[in-house]
Symmetry: D2
Subunit: 148 residues, 4 copies
């Protein structure tokens, strides 16, 4: 993943307490970083809370490849883009980067279903949610589109 692939960014301050007894950021906290990017994204584009307690996203799976270690003090940029959309779910990809670095520290994914919370079952992505997510798909440059 390259920084330019990402379509939404947040900055996170690494907290001292994010580190575990190996003195680097604990693996579970990387998922909290991705969650924070996802929630900020859903909040920022107006999806979060729009449908109240009736329907909304639910996490189906999450993964992370840990490339480098993180330590306090420092900040990271967490970027994401929408990789795929299905009828009732989408897949997001995340990149965690140290400030000023182009190589990601970690790469994450999540699959999020769109769910009727009262009946606990997946339902089709509403049209406006789909339209919003489409705007945040991976950026492809004109040069890349021209490639055979």
């Amino acid at each position: 993943m390259r920084r330019e692939d990402c379509t939404f960014w947040i900055e996170i301050d690494i907290r001292w307490g994010d580190m575990d007894s190996q003195s680097h950021v604990n693996n579970a906290v990387y998922f909290t970083y991705c969650e924070q990017a996802r929630v900020d994204f859903l909040h920022s584009v107006g999806i979060r809370g729009k449908f109240g307690a009736e329907q909304g996203p639910m996490l189906v799976s999450a993964s992370c490849d840990f490339k480098r270690q993180l330590t306090y003090p420092g900040k990271v940029d967490v970027g994401l883009y929408v990789e795929e959309m299905g009828r009732s779910s989408c897949r997001l990809r995340y990149g965690i980067f140290r400030k000023g670095a182009d190589e990601p520290v970690a790469l994450g994914t999540s699959v999020n279903a769109w769910v009727d919370y009262r009946e606990s079952r997946a339902i089709p992505l509403p049209d406006d949610v789909r339209a919003t997510l489409t705007k945040y798909r991976i950026k492809v440059t004109a040069a890349e589109l021209r490639q055979p």
Copy 2:
């Protein structure tokens, strides 16, 4: 994953604070549950700390499929088995089960490299570590071995 596949088990009390504002156990905490199983496993079989600060396991990747929600109060059984061993890494699989339930609440994986901590590079799994991990591979029954 079936319960009988697992070769090592721990029990975890769900803490009230493991839940997030959606009132179920937060996704990042599932990784803490798998981490707890992994650390308990490494501790129990004598791998943890055996090589001091010189070499040991390092988490390369982690994933989780969330099948059902968990809430306080309750306990879960977390089982694991060694799925694959390479020259300098192994892959573990995890199942999180509610007490008395056969269907897992969540399925996890992790890839752990064996690392020279001083040089931060992967090195071959020591023979005794490999021998220990081999004992904790997935259980296969005699009946399954006889199947064509």
Copy 3:
């Protein structure tokens, strides 16, 4: 605080992830341990959830004196007793003890108001809650009562 002062007990497994980069249990986690004892207590005696979303306890203050360090692996016993009851609040005291040890690792307190959640204001403790809390006041032995 002596073990025999406590009127309600839980056992907590120290998680590896409870430790911070100083390789002992992080200070904030002691408050999670006390919270767990408090929630288990309220759940056990039937106060938790009894009044739905309308009224219930709210934490007003919390404190902890750290006497000794805790490390994984291990278990702790967390005991509590009701120290004082006011018109609309009560004060709890907590002791965290290593298994088999009589000297506490840490001593905590909390003040919990009884609150009308919809109006966010303290209201008098309901009679049955007061009666229940009274049963969990510090234990005083007959011998102590006889002392001048």
Copy 4:
């Protein structure tokens, strides 16, 4: 506590995951916020890590009064000042404020001993540490000094 009492400030982004199932920031996380201010302070003034693994601060006690609730999304300012210094310890006070608000959301304290880590015993505050801490005592205005 007034904002103008504080002599050191940090800003913290409230994470969605800081909230518990009551949908406000969990009580233990307030201690993480104070810890973050303390560690940033010790780092910023050059005390953190200066004495390596030999000596340094150790948390003896912590407390917090919760005045108002916090929710994601939002930021808080966490201020602190040195309230008292003893021979081998100091007491810090913390104020957590919502952006733009003068009334604190929460007030915290901590007592930190200066400790010989190898012998686990309190030792006198080194002169330069004492000199640094003195600079961060509560701010007192000239007008206040003139008051009888």
